[in-house]
């Protein structure tokens, strides 16, 4: 990953990685002796990791790279062999000098191959793995057959259809017919596991991913298994008690359709959803997400894996915080003194007013929920006007896993572009209020904040000559605006945020804006051009690259180089 923007010295070359030679389906491969485990700690490389490195696949249910290994589903059983050792403790060789391989067999039935679970078994030098041998395939088929005997097979009404590993593996690795002629085990359906999760125990394959996630990742030992044997049933310690801020990750983790999100259940067939790469805006962590939308409407957020930020997880609060985008009262019209107007008229009038404004008579309050590009343009404008600027702090509770105390997604963007007061955002808000009261500031530009909630009440706003406001949802501030410019939710535009740790992350447009609303960077770019005479870029790529050239922290960055998971800069 590009480190161009970091000022830290280049890291020393990593020590040479110790390798092991093994064979996978007859092909020689070299794999590292140690690889990161679920916690990132180096541990002996497993068969599953080695096969993946060799370009193969091992079907699995319980294994997940970011959860402690359980080894319970047995789907990953793989036939293997190890070099034979003679009584003299030396390797036994074939005629051609190659080491003789002893295939692993059942000790009590040496004609039957014995598999090992690839997810938990370390490799050793000279080992041979046969992930596609007839014996491996037979073991896999048998596990699938067992998993299906008590499964309700209600795919047509299952939410997981299309994303279900049982469905997928059955097609790829299963048999057409089952021998099972007995009565199925019946288990509870539609169990209320917690406020956001419903469980269908009949669909559950008892992989325990949900239990391990909740206990070992979220730190909430809320789930467990009750009953025994074939009657094993996942349950919360008390009905409805599965309620931490990360429960919905278990829906992603569940390899079948047993766990469903109350929010998403039955709403949409997943294959209809358009997927857009984006970033959560609900706190400074900036979890990477995929926005699932259809015909202009957002149906869900899902975490998108980024080990530098959120791993594969996100919090429930962030995940469910998408409904406001489709709120009925979204601002859709350009208004001049409350009357509907066109963008051209409004921008022309604003440009003229600002161009004529005496130095220091304008102040600007921008939101740290705006994109970095928007903040950059606002900063430019402010400098030209000699305007006092600031943004509004938004502090709340954090936790030990992901949630940041800062509820602004782009506080660092607001600092790096010079818009927000340092060291504490909001530190100049009092100054701005005072300047309005004293009459020094006659024009106030507000982007994405309700300033009446931070010390600049309607009484002060009434003293202004011009109040230029851009926002997405109505507020007391938008209600008093001279010019109201409807902006976009992040899902309706492109841009970047700089998260609390300095990761610059871009997000893409998922849905079209409502009514006349426009992406702020588009009209800001026009406004800045009109007021400053500088020519900007009319594409987000160009704008970002220009910003990178002008803002020291971003030097060397390019839009294209941000990739899907961003780049960390010095903050």
């Amino acid at each position: 990953m590009s480190n161009a923007a970091t000022t830290a010295p280049a890291p020393a070359a990593p020590p040479p990685v110790e390798k092991i030679r093994i064979k996978v389906d007859g092909r020689d491969v070299e794999v590292p002796k140690l690889l990161p485990n679920w916690q990132g700690k180096l541990e002996p490389t497993t068969m599953l990791q080695a096969i993946q490195i060799a370009g193969g696949e091992v079907p699995h249910y319980c294994y997940h790279p970011k959860l402690p290994v359980a080894g319970n589903c047995r789907m990953c059983l793989v036939e293997f062999g190890t070099p034979m050792i003679g009584p003299d403790r030396k390797p036994v060789l074939n005629e051609d000098g190659s080491p003789k391989i002893a295939k692993s067999v059942l000790p009590y039935e040496p004609s039957t191959p014995r598999g090992a679970i690839a997810c938990a078994t370390p490799i050793s030098p000279g080992m041979e793995l046969y992930p596609n041998s007839p014996a491996t395939k037979q073991m896999r088929e048998a596990v699938l057959e067992s998993l299906l005997i008590n499964h309700p097979l209600d795919c047509p009404i299952c939410d997981q259809a299309g994303e279900c590993k049982l469905q997928e593996y059955s097609v790829q690795h299963g048999q057409a017919t089952s021998r099972f002629v007995e009565a199925k085990v019946h288990k509870p359906k539609a169990v209320d596991l917690g406020p956001r999760i419903v469980l269908d125990d009949e669909r559950c394959v008892l992989c325990t991913r949900c239990i391990r996630f909740s206990k070992d990742i979220a730190g909430d030992d809320a789930l467990g298994i009750v009953n025994r044997g074939s009657y094993n049933t996942i349950a919360a310690w008390k009905e409805g008690a599965f309620d931490n801020n990360y429960t919905l990750n278990t829906v992603d983790l569940c390899p079948v359709g047993a766990l469903t999100s109350k929010d998403f259940r039955f709403k949409m067939r997943v294959w209809f959803l358009k997927e857009t790469k984006s970033v959560c805006t609900s706190c400074g962590t900036g979890c990477n997400i995929t926005v699932g939308s259809r015909e202009g409407a957002i149906h869900r957020y899902e975490p998108r894996e980024n080990d530098a930020v959120n791993g594969p997880w996100m919090c429930d609060a962030g995940r469910l915080n998408y409904k406001w985008v489709a709120r009925e009262d979204r601002l859709k019209d350009v208004l001049i003194r409350g009357a509907k107007a066109g963008w051209n008229t409004a921008l022309k009038e604003i440009s003229a007013k600002l161009a004529a404004a005496p130095q220091g008579s304008v102040a600007l309050i921008a939101s740290a929920r705006q994109t970095t590009e928007e903040l950059f343009l606002l900063g430019k404008l402010a400098r030209k006007l000699g305007a006092l600027t600031d943004s509004v702090p938004r502090l709340g509770e954090g936790d030990r896993l992901l949630v940041n105390v800062d509820k602004n997604p782009n506080m660092n963007g607001a600092w790096l572009t010079g818009v927000a007061a340092v060291p504490a955002a909001g530190g100049r808000l009092g100054l701005i209020a005072e300047a309005i009261r004293s009459g020094q500031v006659r024009t106030l530009i507000v982007f994405g904040e309700d300033v009446t909630k931070c010390g600049i009440g309607t009484d002060l706003l009434a003293k202004l000559e011009t109040l230029i406001v851009s926002d997405i949802l109505p507020s007391a501030t938008t209600a008093t605006a001279t010019y109201l410019l409807p902006g976009c939710a992040h899902a309706e535009k492109r841009g970047t945020f700089v998260n609390a740790k300095g990761r610059v992350q871009k997000f893409m447009k998922a849905v079209e804006p409502k009514g006349d609303a426009r992406a702020e960077w588009e009209f800001l770019h026009e406004l800045v051009h009109n007021v400053t005479g500088q020519n900007g870029f009319s594409t987000i790529e160009g704008l970002f690259n220009q910003m990178a050239a002008e803002v020291p922290a971003f030097s060397g960055l390019e839009w294209a180089k941000l990739g899907d998971t961003g780049v960390t800069v010095q903050i």
Partner: protein
Amino acid sequence: MPEQHKLILKHADSPGYTPDIECYVRHGGYEALKKALGTAPRELPDGKKLSAQEVVREDVKASGLRGRGGAGFSAGLKWSFVDRRSGKPIYLICNADESEPGTFKDRQIIHKDPHQLVEGMIISCWANDVKLAYIYIRGEMPHGARLLEKALAEARAKNFLGKNILGTGYDLEIYVHRGAGAYICGEETGLIESLEGKRAYPRIKPPYFPAVLGLYMCPTIVNNVETLCHVKHIVTMGPAEYAKLGTPNNTGTRIVSLSGDVQKPGYFEIEVGKVTLGQLIFDANFGGGLKPGRSLKAIIPGGSSSKVLKAGEVFKLNRKGADGQMTKVDVPLLDLPYDFDSLQGAGTMSGSGAIIVMDDSRSMVDTLANLSEFYAHESCGQCTPCREGSLWMAKGLHRLAHGDGRKQDVEYLSHIAQNIQGRTICAFGEAAAWPVLSFVKKFKDEFVARGEADEAAKSAGPSRELKLAASPNPH
């Protein structure tokens, strides 16, 4: 005529013998502990020095003692795998879960001579630098648990246990932990999970070998009650003398639990390999023969998990001839010496030492249906093949046993069992699969006949009355 050789049960059944410490000490109790604690360090011919503890560990290895819990694994070897360099405490757990159907030997020791176990444990703990040990006792044996608690208190009062044992500076505490009553709690890693307060889900190996990552992720030794008692006698007798008991590689004595269709069911302590299966069943000193007018049909030789043996079977076993060469010899079922290796050679195991005898009045279908119901009920359900397969087999067998069989049920059942054995987290998979595999293979005709009869009855007309009772294992 072969006789019992009472080593472990030497005093237990003698009239007037009581489980209290005074009686135990009167009979020479805790002398082995004193002897062990006084063991002199030893210098080996190669100049290597063994500490007193290492000497006892070596002696246990040299005695040839094999585990009496089921797998028959060398106790000395197991102890040698313990990770002694981790810097973590080493734990010892006595497995007193005794739940294998047909087995009732550990409880004899616990109920009649608990101090023998306690002494065996203290010696084993001392030899392995263990400071904290547990007795995990089956939930259904509350009286045994009380007796053990009392024995531990008595031993503590006499300073055989606790701080600075007999002035040696060695501290040891032993606690009794009562299980809640599940067969899987006898599997050593399931037991460890249960002892940690969790559901008794056996652990995957690798990485969780108890000798390295056992109780609380510390090195742990798990041994059976009877195994630990033998340690005391190895110390008393010395390894060479002890190894003279029994037969080579099958040393010592073991307690056999004999049940089923014999005149005199009960427990008998024998020198391992010195008594045959036939003698155990027919001799007056042991089972005393079958019930009048009955003939032998089958033997389950090592607890319900072991593969069944059929009357009349002849096995090819390796025998050392007079010239020292190994040769294959034919050994009929009833001439099989009751030891670890002979039964393994016969394709089964001596397991927990429990022999279940079936005569010609028994239906193999009904017997297997019963056994499978037990395994379906006891599967912990953690891993797919066993969780799904054990109930699947039980349901199929229930059907076959209740008039709804098919002739292909033999293949059907062995297919399910084949897909369990060797593919599970713990050896319960084998325990559930082996009875099915061996019954349907060795008594195939009986199973096919049941299926055919049911099919014929079905095609004869719809008026047939189905005998289907409630499905097995309504939990």
